[in-house]
Symmetry: C2
Subunit: 347 residues, 2 copies
């Protein structure tokens, strides 16, 4: 079930591993299942920041992040293509775990999620509450891949990969399709679209959908400063790996390297990769809580943080950012509230 | 400019001081000026709470509360009816101040807001930033009514009342009209609609709009426990006054008595008045921050708090709550995060 075999090397968008048609098909599958999240505008705040900000609130998606979209699309395709498979397995300590668990429960699959035994108790509890079986492993002495492969073999369970999969990318891209419809109904044309990036599935899907409708839009990824593998890979043309041993509060954005399939899309479609440090992320979370009235988790804030940090670049233009997740706990919100004002940062 | 003279004593809804037609006219005036705020659904949370919850996010309205709607409608009517008047005055320490200031700036009026000198600095600064002149007074030794009357006389400024005015009620009611459209597009019929209540303008307007479309819906007000003047007045049939000397963290909901005009509407349209204590408000704010990913201020949380507190009453039914404002500061958010889990409270 590993779709890496399907990689299509290409120099034109027609043959990329995810297409606008795939995303439209995914949107049909997700209809009535995923939440159509709002695209929020803040006209008075626009005057303060000097550009028109629109926020796609995936914080309001089922399970609090966009991850449900890809998981649900993947599982619905699986149901069509492999009706013998009734169980799925995934490894994740965070939002992908909850997305897979919720999609599995909704579609009648049993789900096993392999999580590190030092994962936050609240994420383990949330995943269990969604009906999944959680298998804990020791991060430093056991291999989650081996455990998942064993579960997959023993139970005929399909592995649901977090990003490097056409169905996952197409599912995440439905957020971009909604952005298109919402912009049209507002009568607004976008200049820049920014999405947070870990393995790159969200930004690949969103860029595919949005650039199909608005070819001139500049699509950009947002990463933590020490996990800017995509930004550097876009410059070099190679899938570069992050220097090991670094940390970031953006627990959802710590993938070490761009995916094979996601990079095939992103190197064609993205204008550039952006990155911000953790201090800017915390200030951005504070700005979201106090000004946008939104809880956004650290990784989910990365695109908004880049939009605010580099605001001199898009004066009077229209910037759409994806707020990709809202699963911050009380402690992280407290840390953010102690941070400074992002608008007092030189831009 | 005091509209109390226009009070129409009535026993039928046709002659109430605000009508569905007034609200539809207000919606036309506000088009392209106020934000159409989303009606948010949380299907996975519905399973936990046992009823279908829909949240009208007025936290995302311009200036962070519904107050902009009424102020904007009032000022647009003023511009039509009294073109000689180019300045307005209001007294408020909070959301009404910001709503009037923003509407005045947008429509080219100069605005003076009379605020107590012990008002939170952030609210004074926000009001100034919106372009208003702030006149501070000493809460214990000066009369804000006298100061506002003096300003009004000296500058030919119109007083913008906070709630007891047909144009204000009609403006607030546009939130209800949006709820109708949004429910229709979701294919959902509501059973209960709850809105926070101070002077009663919001709940009067929302009840007028929603009951016009769905006559069987039960409309309810939500007040702080020691400021439940409307709940008690609805039972007694008289406009009762709150016992003085009480306090609540719901700074936006401290009016001492129902308005004359708002009570004329509310006693006809509301099924009952609900109330909750401050501890429940804090738990509800925590629930909103962590589960709904929303910052809601204490008073703005009252309807959601009542919906959760009394959830045994609407098992498997559909409850629309208005989250009327989101202007909480970091300190209040911190207090909320230290509160307990509202769902562990016996219902």
């Amino acid at each position: 079930l590993n779709d890496h075999s399907e990689v299509k090397r290409t120099t034109g968008t027609a043959e990329l591993p995810v297409t606008p048609a795939d995303i439209k098909a995914a949107a049909q599958r997700l209809k009535g299942k995923a939440v159509v999240t709002p695209l929020l505008s803040f006209p008075l705040i626009d005057k303060e920041i000097g550009f028109r900000l629109l926020v796609k609130a995936e914080t309001l998606q089922l399970t609090g992040s966009f991850k449900f979209r890809g998981a649900c699309n993947k599982l619905m395709l699986l149901r069509e293509q492999r009706p013998d498979v009734r169980s799925v397995v995934a490894f994740s300590s965070g939002n992908h775990a909850q997305g897979v668990a919720a999609a599995a429960a909704m579609l009648g699959f049993s789900a096993t999620i392999v999580m590190p035994d030092d994962a936050p108790r609240v994420k383990i509890e949330n995943t269990k509450r969604l009906g999944a079986t959680v298998v804990l492993y020791q991060r430093h002495s056991e291999s989650r891949e081996e455990i998942a492969a064993k579960i997959s073999a023993e139970t005929n369970a399909a592995l649901v990969p977090p990003y490097d999969d056409p169905a996952i990318m197409a599912g995440q891209g439905t957020a971009g399709l909604e952005i298109n419809t919402q912009l049209e109904s507002m009568g607004i044309e976008p200049d820049v679209v920014i999405a947070p990036c870990s393995g790159g599935g969200l930004v690949a899907g969103v860029a595919t959908a949005v650039k199909d409708r608005w070819p001139k839009v500049e699509a950009m990824s947002a990463e933590p400063a020490d996990f800017d593998d995509l930004a550097r890979s876009l410059k070099s043309g190679e899938r570069l790996i992050n220097e090991p041993g670094k940390t970031s509060i953006c627990d959802a954005l710590l993938s070490p390297q761009p995916g094979v399939l996601t990079f095939a899309v992103n190197r064609e479609l993205l204008a550039r990769g952006l990155a911000v440090d953790d201090a800017t992320i915390l200030k951005t979370m504070r700005f979201a809580l106090l000004k946008l009235k939104m809880t956004i988790e650290p990784g989910g804030s990365a695109a908004l943080a880049c939009a605010l940090q580099y605001r001199a670049n898009w004066k009077n233009r229209t910037v759409v950012v994806v707020a990709s997740g809202g699963n911050a706990d009380a402690e992280m919100i407290n840390r953010a509230l102690e941070a400074g004002d992002i608008l007092e940062t030189a831009s």
